[in-house]
C-alpha cells in the first residue's frame, strides 16, 4: 500500500515537473524552443517518459494552459480588489488581463491562441478556466444593459481584450498606444458619462 502510494506520489511529482519545465522553457525561449528532446533533457529523463504522462506535446501544452488559468484568475481577482465603481472595476480587470498577456506571452498563447484540445465553453471545461471567466463575468455584470445576456456580453468583452492582446503581440497594432486603445474599449462597455 505505502509502496504503491509512494510511487504514485513520485509519478505525480514528475508530472508536475514536466509541466513546470515546459512552462518555464516556453516563457524563456518561446514554444518553438519547447521540443520533446529539450524538455526531456530538462527533466533529466528520456523522451518516451513524457509520453507515459501525456498523450503528446499538445497535451503538455494543455496542462500548462490549465495551470496558467490559475495565475490569470489570481491576477484578475487581485486587480479588482482595490477598484471602486463599475467603470474602475472593468478598467482594472481589463488592464490586468492585457498585462497578463504581455507579461506571460507563452503562457497566454497556450491558453488562448494555440489550438489545444481543451473543452472551453462547456460545463466540462477545467475549473481554473471557468474561474478566470467568472472573474471577468463579475466585472462585466454591473455594466450590462437590461436584456443583455450576461454570459454573451462577457464573451464579447473578452474577445475585445483578446484581440487587443494578440494583435499587439504579433506586431499588428503598435504597442505604445495600447493604453489608449484599452481605455477606448472600456469606455464603450462602461461609459463614464452619458454626455461629455
Amino acid at each position: 500500500m505505502t509502496i504503491q502510494t509512494r510511487r504514485e506520489r513520485e509519478r505525480a511529482e514528475r508530472e508536475r515537473l514536466i509541466v513546470t519545465a515546459a512552462r518555464d522553457l516556453a516563457e524563456a525561449e518561446g514554444w518553438d524552443a519547447v521540443t520533446t528532446r529539450r524538455l526531456a533533457a530538462e527533466i533529466e529523463y528520456s523522451q518516451p517518459v513524457l509520453y507515459s504522462h501525456f498523450k503528446g506535446k499538445g497535451a503538455i501544452m494543455a496542462a500548462v494552459a490549465v495551470r496558467g488559468c490559475e495565475e490569470l484568475t489570481a491576477d484578475l481577482r487581485a486587480s479588482t480588489a482595490a477598484a471602486e465603481g463599475a467603470h474602475a472595476r472593468l478598467a482594472a480587470v481589463g488592464r490586468a488581463y492585457t498585462d497578463f498577456g504581455r507579461r506571460r506571452p507563452a503562457l497566454y498563447d497556450a491558453m488562448f491562441t494555440h489550438l489545444v484540445d481543451l473543452p472551453f465553453a462547456t460545463p466540462e471545461a477545467p475549473a481554473p478556466l471557468q474561474e478566470a471567466f467568472g472573474e471577468l463575468l463579475k466585472a462585466v455584470e454591473p455594466v450590462a444593459h437590461e436584456g443583455d445576456d450576461l454570459g454573451l456580453l462577457t464573451e464579447t468583452f473578452w474577445a475585445g481584450l483578446h484581440g487587443l492582446v494578440t494583435l499587439m503581440r504579433s506586431g499588428r497594432l503598435p504597442r505604445e498606444a495600447h493604453d489608449r486603445r484599452l481605455a477606448l474599449l472600456i469606455e464603450r462597455f462602461a461609459p463614464r458619462a452619458t454626455t461629455d
Copy 2:
C-alpha cells in the same frame, strides 16, 4: 530583349502560381498541410525553385496574406454598399469581416494570426492591407465620439472583431451564438438608441 522579358514574364507567372497553390492548399487542408514538398509537387517543380522566389515558407505565407487582404477589402466594400445609417454600416462591415474569417480560415490566419514578417501599422505596410483597414475606418468614423482618435478607435473595433473570430474558430467561444455576440459588440460601438 524580348527573350529576357519572356523569361521574366514566365518567372512572374510561376511566382503567382506558387502563391495560388499555397493559398488553395491551405484553404483545402490547412496550413499544416502546406509543406514545401507538397507545394513543389503541386506546381510541378522541385523544392529549391520555391527558394529562388521566396526567402522561405514564411515569405510565401506573407504573399498569400497580402493577396488575402485584397479579397477582404472587396468583401468589406461590398458589404457597406447597401447599408444605410451609421449603425447599419458598422453592423454590415462587422458581419462581412467575421464572415470572411469563418469562410476563409486559412487565409485569415495567414493575414492576422500567424507570425508573419509584414510591416503592419506603419506607412510601409502593403497597400492592400492599408485599404482593408481603410474600409473599417470609414465605417467607424461616423460613430466616433468627440475627442476620440479615429485610428485608435478603429483599431479597437478591429480587435473586437478579431477576438470574436479567433476565439470562435479555435472553439473557445460557441459558434452558434456568434450573431448575438457580434450584435452586442456593434451595439457598444454604435448604440442604436440612447435610452431603452
